[in-house]
């Protein structure tokens, strides 16, 4: 109301603007007239003319100054700021510490609150100190009023003012909460100088810049300063606002998520799907944990994790990791084991029912059972079955589990390259899981299953680690009682697990690993055994699998034998089973078409069902030329018969060896030749032949690499036959390692070798004397048909293998000395040849 009264005519509001009300200075002091007043030193702030400022005055000297001012009739007080460079604020400022220019103020209000005086001071004029009068008990100075700020270029001042106002507007848009009167004061029709001073007092520019503004003598300069300071301030405000907005939007998103989640919970609750969320889940886990039978260490760890889980919201990424982990821990059979069936007779019956033969293995299993019966806490053995494919290693494992009444779990190690697959990944990895061992245990549900590690010889390894090294711990009965999976990070007792590894070859298994296992070799089956297996297991199984009834298909023994020998070539019985399956399918077709009721298949019918025989096993040759001997080889597929061929090369040199022979085999060929050379006289060989003829040694099936020392005897026989011209007996096959001193050393794989030789029609076999014990492994029927000769020395081999008569006389030695006789000698029939023939 007072504003209206001031400016408009209250009586006749005729729209005419009243004559402007002169805003006269509040004092009647004039510029240029010095006068003495009390001075208040201001710290860190500047008081501008044309502003009203509340001040709190506390220092005794300041209070004294204010009181002195109040004691005057006009209540005038000079306010002068302490220089910016004076930092100490505890000491009262001396006169030298003050600026020279300050503001004359009039005290409008005063109020005491305790020791502090609160005054409201109004700036009226700029003053300049002419002389300091005293500084105790308060500052006093003679001052004079400075002339009013002069406007030099009114247009420029107006333009700057408008710019300033535009910036103020921008700034105000970003600053909520500025009181309306302040807005009006800055944006209304305000005098430029007044606006500048007001900005100067609210921008918080710092004493130095504020003083600069106060000392500006022209409005032009004053506004330029205000403009510059405001521009900088505006930038800061904009930046702050931007930062604040960004932070806000981020907060908004998480807030929104939170709200949505709360809503979802509410909806679930309405639908009755609410299980109480994470709380209930944690509660459920706690219940399970309380019921679970756990070792103390495991329980402590699980409880620790559960506590962490309870503190996490279900949205936290760690929540699921911990939950999965806990569930895994709770599912593992830490202390749960199955009871072993300890009935030895029953176990024997089960083993016999599942497998034909394999006496060794069965006996080992029964021994173990007996030990468990006597000492229940015994550690389980670690077995390794080695044998060709299809001999029943895996199914034997299954059968052992059945005989013991244990759970059976199988894991294939073939091609595994990563150690972490066995031992798991640490929980810090995303998607980490326990290793295969622990997984198998969990599947088994007990801590004493039969765990089959299939194809242990086919473990790989690369830069990621070597799984076989991890197996070292797992398979060591001394260590595996506290097996630590990386994922679980808790010791699990594997000592009651019955490990069975299988392999086709022992070679690739690292020696330390091999050392931890009890190796049981499963040799290939003989034809006789195959016949029994086919009759007992394969045929009934195939009849059932192909939907036939027993009696609808019968296979004669001859037919099965034919399948085993001419349609398959293997140590095991997989192909044989497949062949029987083929026959069964074809029979099933005929029965389904109602052509016949039942079929009986004999050897003659096989051709109709399966076509021509696929294999013609290497048969004993009826006659061997000199220089050829029959040997026996062991392969993964069983045994084989092979022929070693040697021929003389007139004028050649040394020993040429072909047929993909490995180094060991090449060396035994060289040893054989050297032995014969050194004992040439003994065997009736003309020693010059070694010098004058080269020898080429070849082992057919040239594409297949061969190695090993066991062909030594055969090579010796072939070479001896070559040099002497006496043929090797075609019904005889041989094997054995030789030494340079003429001894014959034992070799391995005899059963397969002999079976193969028998299959090929060989009836006489030379074996190292020290292999005599192996003969017991041979099936009775085979052994009966064979004549086995044991040899201990090479001379015995030559006596036993070579025919007495010289059938193919060797050529005469060539004299290479360049003597003219050489030619004539060659043309003559050899004397030596004749001699030998007679011998």
């Amino acid at each position: 109301m007072s504003e209206i009264l001031e400016n408009t005519n209250p009586v006749t509001d005729n729209g005419e603007q009243p004559a402007s009300v002169e805003d006269r200075p509040a004092t009647n002091r004039k510029p240029g007239q010095p006068f003495e007043i009390a001075v208040l030193a201001l710290q860190n702030t500047t008081l501008f003319p044309e502003t009203v400022v509340p001040l709190a005055v506390g220092r005794p000297r300041s209070v004294a100054a204010v009181e002195a001012a109040l004691a005057t009739e006009e209540k005038l007080l000079g306010c002068i700021t302490v220089r910016a460079e004076v930092t100490s604020t505890n000491q009262d400022a001396g006169t030298a510490d003050l600026y020279k220019v300050g503001t004359l103020t009039m005290i409008k209000r005063m109020e005491r609150l305790g020791e502090t005086m609160h005054i409201i001071a109004q700036g009226t004029d700029r003053i300049k100190v002419v002389e300091w009068k005293k500084d105790d008990p308060y500052l006093r100075a003679v001052v004079e009023i400075l002339p009013e700020v002069e406007i030099k270029d009114p247009e420029e001042v107006e333009a700057t003012k408008r710019n300033v106002q535009a910036m103020v507007q921008e700034a105000l848009a970003l600053l909520p909460g500025v009181p309306p009167e302040v807005r009006v004061a800055m944006l209304g029709s305000v005098e430029p100088v007044r606006l500048a001073y007001f900005l100067g007092s609210i921008l918080n520019l710092g004493v130095e810049q504020e003083q600069k503004m106060l000392e500006a003598d022209t409005a032009d300069e004053l506004l330029r300063l205000a403009h510059g300071y405001l521009a900088r301030e505006l930038e800061i405000i904009q930046l702050r606002s931007k930062i604040a907005t960004e932070a806000q939007s981020e907060m908004d998103k998480s807030q929104r998520d939170y709200i949505l989640r709360q809503q979802m919970k509410a909806i679930q609750k309405e639908l009755g799907e609410d299980e109480g969320g994470e709380q209930a889940e944690a509660g459920l886990l706690r219940e399970r944990l309380a019921k679970a039978d756990l070792p103390e260490e495991v329980r402590t760890e699980a409880e620790r994790e559960l506590k962490r889980l309870e503190k996490l919201p279900s949205a936290a990424p760690d929540y699921h990791v911990i939950r999965t982990y806990l569930e895994y821990v709770l599912e593992l059979p830490w202390l749960k084991s199955s009871e072993d069936k300890l009935d030895l007779k029953e176990a024997r019956r089960i083993l016999d029912e599942d497998h034909y033969g394999l006496e060794d293995v069965k006996e080992r299993i029964l021994e173990f059972l007996a030990v468990i019966k006597l000492r229940p806490d015994t550690k389980s053995p670690i077995l390794c079955f080695v044998g060709p494919p299809g001999v029943g290693k895996t199914s034997l494992g299954r059968s052992i589990a059945r005989a013991l009444g244990r759970q059976f779990e199988r894991m294939s190690l073939g091609g595994m390259r990563d150690e972490a697959e066995l031992r798991g990944h640490r929980r810090t990895y995303i998607g980490s899981m326990p290793g295969r061992v622990i997984q198998s245990i969990r599947r088994a549900g007990v801590n004493n299953p039969v765990l089959m590690l299939d194809e242990i010889d086919k473990l790989g390894n690369d830069y990621r680690g070597d799984p076989s090294s991890a197996l070292l711990e797992i398979l060591d009965p001394q260590q595996n009682g506290t097996f630590r999976d990386h994922y679980l990070d808790l010791p699990f007792d594997l000592s009651r697990v019955f490990f069975i590894a299988t392999a086709n070859q022992l070679g690739p298994i690292p020696p330390p690993l091999r050392d931890r296992m009890e190796v049981i070799a499963l040799a290939g089956y003989s034809d006789m055994e195959k016949l029994q297996i086919a009759k007992r297991y394969l045929l009934p199984r195939q009849i059932e699998e192909n939907g036939l009834k027993s009696g609808q298909l019968t296979l004669s023994d001859a037919a099965i034998e034919l399948l085993a020998t001419r349609y398959t070539r293997e140590a095991g019985v997989r192909q044989l089973e497949r062949s029987i399956g083929s026959v069964a399918r074809k029979v099933a077709l005929r029965i389904a078409q109602a052509e016949v009721e039942a079929v009986s298949v004999d050897a003659d019918d096989i051709h109709d069902y399966l076509g021509a025989p696929r294999f013609y096993p290497e048969q004993a040759r009826k006659e061997l030329p000199a220089g050829v001997a029959t040997g026996m080889a062991w392969t993964e597929m069983g045994g084989e018969v092979l022929f070693i061929e040697a021929t003389l090369l007139p004028g050649g040199r040394g020993l040429t060896i072909t047929g993909q022979l490995g180094e060991v085999m090449q060396e035994s060929a060289r040893a054989a030749q050297s032995y014969l050379w050194s004992h040439a006289n003994e065997f009736g060989i003309n020693a010059e032949m070694f010098q004058n003829y080269g020898v080429h040694l070849h082992v057919p099936a040239g594409a297949i690499p061969k190695d090993g020392p066991s062909a030594g005897v055969t090579i010796t026989a072939a070479l001896a036959s070559l040099y002497t011209g006496r043929r090797v007996r075609p019904d005889t096959a041989m094997t054995g390692e030789i030494t340079l001193s003429g001894l014959v050393f034992p070799v391995g794989g005899l059963k397969e070798k002999i079976l193969a030789a028998h299959r090929a029609g060989i009836r006489r076999i030379l074996l190292p004397a020290r292999n005599e014990a192996d003969i017991e492994d041979l099936p009775e029927d085979v052994r009966k048909e064979l004549q086995i000769v044991f040899v201990a020395r090479i001379s015995e081999v030559i006596d036993a293998a070579l025919e007495v008569l010289v059938a193919n006389p060797p050529p005469p030695p060539i004299v290479t000395s360049g003597h003219p006789d050489a030619v004539s000698r060659q043309s003559e029939p050899s004397q030596a040849q004749l001699t030998v023939k007679q011998g």
Binding site: S2, N9, P10, M106, E111, R112, G123
Partner: protein
């Protein structure tokens, strides 16, 4: 801008005494709230249709041994100008001082 909280305000007039204006039978009566003014410090002038009153209030109450506990009365110069719809008869001005109010009687020309 950030120190608006310092409660600095642009100053208005220091002291603007309140005034009532009455219409009388033959002119105007102006009553101004002007206590504690020494007659020597008061100046009343009329220009055509406006009345200007100005002067200064001083605190003459201060004695030795006094000090302020509280101060709310404004001591300063003041100036009050009131516009009228008609010209004022210069000679008709009469003023008196009653109970702290300044009463000015005016007549239209």
């Amino acid at each position: 801008m950030l120190t608006v909280a310092r409660r600095v305000r642009p100053s208005g007039r220091l002291w603007n005494p309140a005034a009532d204006v009455y219409r009388s039978a033959d002119g105007w009566v102006v009553k101004v709230d002007l206590a504690g003014i020494c007659a020597d410090d008061l100046e009343i002038a009329v220009y055509d249709s406006s009345l200007r009153i100005r002067g200064c209030r001083r605190d003459t109450f201060v004695r030795d041994g006094f000090s302020y506990q509280q101060m709310e009365i404004t001591y300063s110069q003041f100036e009050k100008t009131i516009q009228f719809p008609c010209a004022i008869d210069q000679d008709s001005i009469a003023h008196e001082y009653s109970d702290g109010f300044l009463i000015v009687n005016l007549r239209c020309e």
